[in-house]
């Protein structure tokens, strides 16, 4: 399936590159990985193109195209155990080139069949483009321990405009001397609604280190909002720190704006 294999590579590379160009990759991995994804995409596209061209060319299906076809002499692995019932593979495989060839013919076929599975994530990305992680995982995963490290932060300087910050920083400030560092400043937070609470709702945003598989949410409680947005709705909230939240920091909202999911949905 050398030609089909080339086509699969071409698809994989194209989809990777498309993820980078459209910025959609931010839903799945941390934004810093963009250049690496682009490099990988270009490399895989090149590989697929060359494979396609070679398989279509006059020497298509030539020995070099078939893995293991010509390998015969020398350099074969030597079984350090020497004997044992299993040395048959080596006995058969190493000296006789054709033996490797035959076994490989089938093996090659079977292994390449695994390559078809690469079409699964491609189909998922092209057809439905899985969304950013939502509230489903908030209650299931381990939440970020905001207290960890016991960060001590410099005090804010209240100004005419609210100060934008991450949910993690908000939480750390909340636990740092009971929120003394807020200094009364208004803050602006962006996250999604992770469910309702008495008197308000929960605001959450995931931290990721590498990809969405290692995401852990930071959760706050928002009170004072006039209405509660739908679950999983992204919001930008302006408000002030309110003490007395216990283990989950409190935010007294003065303004809640519903927004689209940001390009970089994770912190």
């Amino acid at each position: 399936m050398s030609a089909a294999g080339g086509l699969i590579s071409l698809l994989v590379g194209t989809v990777l590159l498309r993820l980078v160009v459209t910025g959609t990759y931010g839903r799945y991995v941390r934004v810093g990985m963009g250049p690496w994804l682009a490099v990988a995409g270009v490399a895989v596209i090149a590989l697929g193109l060359v494979t396609l061209v070679r398989s279509a060319g006059p020497q298509g299906g030539a020995p070099v195209d078939r893995e293991g076809t010509g390998e015969s002499q020398g350099g074969g692995p030597v079984d350090p155990e020497g004997s044992g019932e299993g040395s048959a593979v080596l006995e058969g495989g190493v000296p006789a080139g054709a033996q490797v060839d035959g076994a490989d013919g089938d093996g090659h076929h079977g292994d390449s069949r695994m390559g078809w599975l690469l079409l699964a994530p491609i189909a998922a990305l092209l057809l439905v483009a899985p969304p950013t992680l939502g509230s489903f995982g908030v209650d299931r995963g381990t939440q970020v321990n905001i207290r960890a490290g016991g960060a001590v932060l410099p005090p804010l300087h209240p100004g005419p405009r609210p100060i934008a910050m991450t949910l993690l920083e908000y939480g750390q400030r909340a636990f740092d001397h009971d929120g003394a560092s807020f200094n009364g400043a208004a803050v602006q937070l962006t996250g999604f609604v992770a469910g309702t609470e008495p008197g308000g709702f929960r605001l959450a945003r995931y931290q990721i280190a590498c990809c969405a598989a290692d995401a852990a949410p930071v959760v706050l409680r928002v009170v004072g909002a006039r209405s509660v947005p739908a679950r999983d709705q992204w919001v930008r909230i302006t408000g002030n720190f309110q003490p007395g939240g216990g283990e989950i920091p409190l935010l007294a909202a003065s303004n809640v704006v519903e927004i689209r999911a940001p390009e970089d949905p994770y912190e």
């Binding site: 350099g75 495989g93 076929h109 599975l117």
Partner: protein, 362 residues
């Protein structure tokens, strides 16, 4: 858990035949088998090359036609969560997989056959620790080191040494150690403990494999000895082959990890939070199930503050060496029966080493 990978891997009759062959079997019988195996190859060669392309096109068209059905599928939060994690693991792994595949193909193309066995020490007692230490030179995560180790074995490197390299590279390279230092600020002991425990685990597993392991279980690695021809042609065909093969198994692993992350509530793990052997076991299990990149696991470990440092060390030692994605990749590169023995061995050794080093340093 490891059995989960079972159903995905096609068992081919030909490989079974080879395995059952005994050393005393005559050359004639082997030759007959060879002939039998040759036949289907000719039949395949006669098939038009374009059939594969047509199939790919068919899959794409069918998927596009089914799109309206799929749109509503993602309305279910659990399905959307699964799909996102599945795609995330796959996308995240691609750059590392490409790096590993390219290095592996370069070894196949430019390292002459017979060079590795001559150049490397033959005694396991020397070769294994050296190979484990050499893992520090490969930046990246575990997806990249699997094809490289497979190629080293195919090129005649001592399997025990290549396996030690396979285990240590994703755990002790500078990128991962730096990430660990960043995740545990002000706690250099964690970085040192991770380095030591991972090196120790890789070396011990390598030496155990050298003594008791059966290298014939690495059938797949040996079978893909690589094509012959001009180096560039070998480079390309090997890279293409390895990418599809390893990529396919990566998909199996990513799907398994996404399923486990979606289905198994992590609250179960929190129930045994604290110190002691149970916590260590729980976090090792979490590492196996989550299958996160070794460059990221330190941050997750740092967030698991309800567990002892030793348990979190276990999480960081086990994760880069044994997880569902990795076991699938190993099964695809070395062979299924190998992976089913190697993963439990590694897990046990990693747990013991983490407990010892954690007790000593943390």
């Amino acid at each position: 858990m490891f059995m989960r990978t079972d159903g995905y891997i096609p068992v081919r009759s030909s490989s079974r035949e080879v395995n059952e062959a005994t050393p005393v079997e005559s050359r004639r019988m082997q030759a007959e088998r060879r002939d039998r195996r040759e036949q289907p190859r000719h039949r395949r060669a006669a098939r038009p090359v374009d059939a594969g392309i047509a199939l790919v096109a068919l899959v794409v068209v069918a998927a596009a036609a089914l799109r309206p059905l799929l749109d509503h599928l993602l309305d279910r939060p659990a399905v959307a969560h699964w799909a996102t994690v599945f795609v995330a693991i796959t996308v995240q792994a691609m750059p590392f997989l490409v790096l590993g595949v390219v290095i592996s193909a370069a070894v196949a193309a430019f390292v002459p056959a017979g060079f590795l066995p001559r150049a490397l020490p033959r005694r396991p007692a020397l070769a294994v620790p050296l190979a484990a230490a050499a893992g520090a030179a490969l930046p990246g995560c575990e997806c990249g080191s699997v094809p490289i180790a497979g190629r080293l074995i195919a090129r005649g490197a001592l399997p025990a040494a290549a396996l030690a390299f396979l285990l240590s590279a994703p755990a002790i390279n500078p990128v991962v150690l730096t990430a660990t230092a960043v995740a545990f600020p002000g706690r250099p002991a964690v970085v040192v403990a991770r380095l030591l425990a991972s090196l120790l685990t890789s070396t011990v597993v390598g030496l155990v494999w050298a003594r008791t392991g059966r290298d014939e279980l690495l059938e797949r690695a040996y079978r893909h000895r690589g094509a012959e021809g001009p180096p560039l042609a070998v480079l390309l065909s090997t890279a293409q082959h390895d990418l599809l093969q390893a990529g396919g198994f990566l998909i199996v692993g990513a799907a398994t990890a996404a399923t486990l992350q979606t289905v198994v509530p992590r609250g179960i793990i929190d129930a045994v939070a604290g110190a002691g052997p149970l916590a260590l076991l729980a976090l090792a299990g979490l590492a196996v199930v989550m299958a996160i990149c070794s460059e990221a696991d330190a941050f997750v470990a740092a967030s698991l503050t309800q567990f002892s440092l030793t348990a979190r060390l276990g999480f960081m030692v086990v994760g880069p060496m044994v997880d569902v994605k990795l076991v699938a990749l190993q099964a695809g590169t070395f062979g299924r029966r190998f992976a089913l023995r190697f993963a439990p061995l590694t897990l046990v050794v990693a747990l013991v080493c983490s407990a010892l080093v954690g007790r000593w340093l943390l």
